[in-house]
Symmetry: C2
Subunit: 223 residues, 2 copies
DNA sequence: CCAAAAGTGTTGATGATACACCCATGT
DNA sequence: ACATGGGTGTATCATCAACACTTTTGG
């Protein structure tokens, strides 16, 4: 075709909720450019794979994590974003439950969770990519069932509420929240189990239901 | 680097509202592959330009239209989407006011407006790209001031309502709609002018205000 | 005067917030 | 018994759909 060759990469904004903070998975770069700085995990697109497949492969290779949700975020292609050659990256957003990082058998040896508030000065244009990913996650909690992607397979209403509180950075009324989520058809399915608690009434356990969009939405007033 | 070269293109979903239909700009392909079939306008990314700049350039070259709004839509990179070589396309969504297609001085000689309901059997994976663009436009009307991008610089409340009705495919109550849009701060600014009408009370003319998000949103109930 | 389209008032339904209250468990 | 957190009832308030009604023009 005679058109300028471009390298295409897939980068990942992997978010989780742990210890009352929204955290992102970062890796420390071992090669130039930006050697030694932290960056979003990612890698080159292979000849025979789709964009979504590449994102899923990178996520498995670099983290070994169980994935709650994976979607395309946006593409970034400023001419000077990589000093070596022209690189266009297709960023993806992954939401995962809180889980320890497997340290063996993956490239995740030097990966770590960082609260998004502390993640800045990243390599390339990753500050921007991260900001876009966080904003996407915040917005999508309003009108989709995505918050369940941050939760383990079985979870309580209170756990789900903490997800909202941490991602949005504001407190929610536990009573009203309970009514809202249990009153939204298809959002939650009771497992019949309850938690064993340390000093309180046991909570019902739920798994996520078939609903993916929320009608009516949860509006974070103002913001 | 030694990584497989990929060609990157920028494709455009250009939408407008005309004659009570949501229409998309299509061009007939003059070269293989898919010669003779209709496709979304687009072209290759140049070495020195950003993705957004490439989209704006293509739009100007191929249409010469005044642009109401331009944003990135999504990227598509199935390995077999182009039989010649590996091509990843970054699709963009453009919303423009209804205006005649300039036929001179552009590549738009064979471009035409097609109602989205009639646009199928497009080249490559453009059916999919178009569907994603239309869905994005429909969703964004709910919570942004984007509908004004379909309108000329000065417009009436009724014109704006037609935009919503055509894009969503359902009738809205003129009285309630009027109250909603005039009651949303920053959405509309009165010009002081009125229309000269053919058999009815003249309508106030507005231009779009500084607001870009709508609080509270216009929900299309059910859908 | 009549038709047509702009714009306003009012009402009842629906959903959100705030908060009092009860329930079930561990210590 | 009591502390702790799960879960429910209810009043108050905002928002919305529906529709009757008034206003301003052209014929």
């Amino acid at each position: 075709m005679g058109h300028p060759a471009v390298a295409v990469t897939v980068d990942l904004v992997v978010l989780t909720v742990r210890e009352d903070a929204l955290c992102v998975l970062l890796v420390r770069r071992g090669v130039e450019p930006h050697r030694g700085r932290e960056a979003l995990p990612g890698g080159f697109l292979r000849p025979d794979e789709d964009l979504a497949a590449a994102a899923a492969r990178e996520l498995a290779e670099e983290t070994g994590l169980t994935v709650g949700h994976l979607e395309q975020l946006a593409s970034y292609g400023a001419p000077d974003r990589d000093p070596r050659q022209r690189v266009v990256t297709v960023a993806h957003l992954a939401l995962v439950p809180d889980q320890p990082l497997p340290t063996a058998g993956t490239d995740a040896a030097d990966a770590r969770w960082v609260p998004v508030a502390d993640a800045c000065g990243l390599a390339f244009d990753h500050d921007r990519v991260l900001a876009d990913g966080v904003e996407r996650a915040r917005a999508k909690l309003e009108y989709t069932a995505l918050a369940t992607a941050f939760c383990p397979p079985a979870f309580t209403v209170a756990q789900l509420r903490r997800v909202y509180e941490v991602v949005w950075g504001r407190a929610l009324d536990p009573r009203n929240f309970h009514r809202k989520v249990t009153g939204t058809p298809g959002l939650l399915e009771p497992t019949g189990e309850t938690t064993t608690r340390d000093g309180g009434r046991p909570a019902q356990l739920f798994r996520r239901g078939p609903a993916d969009t929320l009608h009516p939405p949860f509006l974070r007033t103002d913001a």
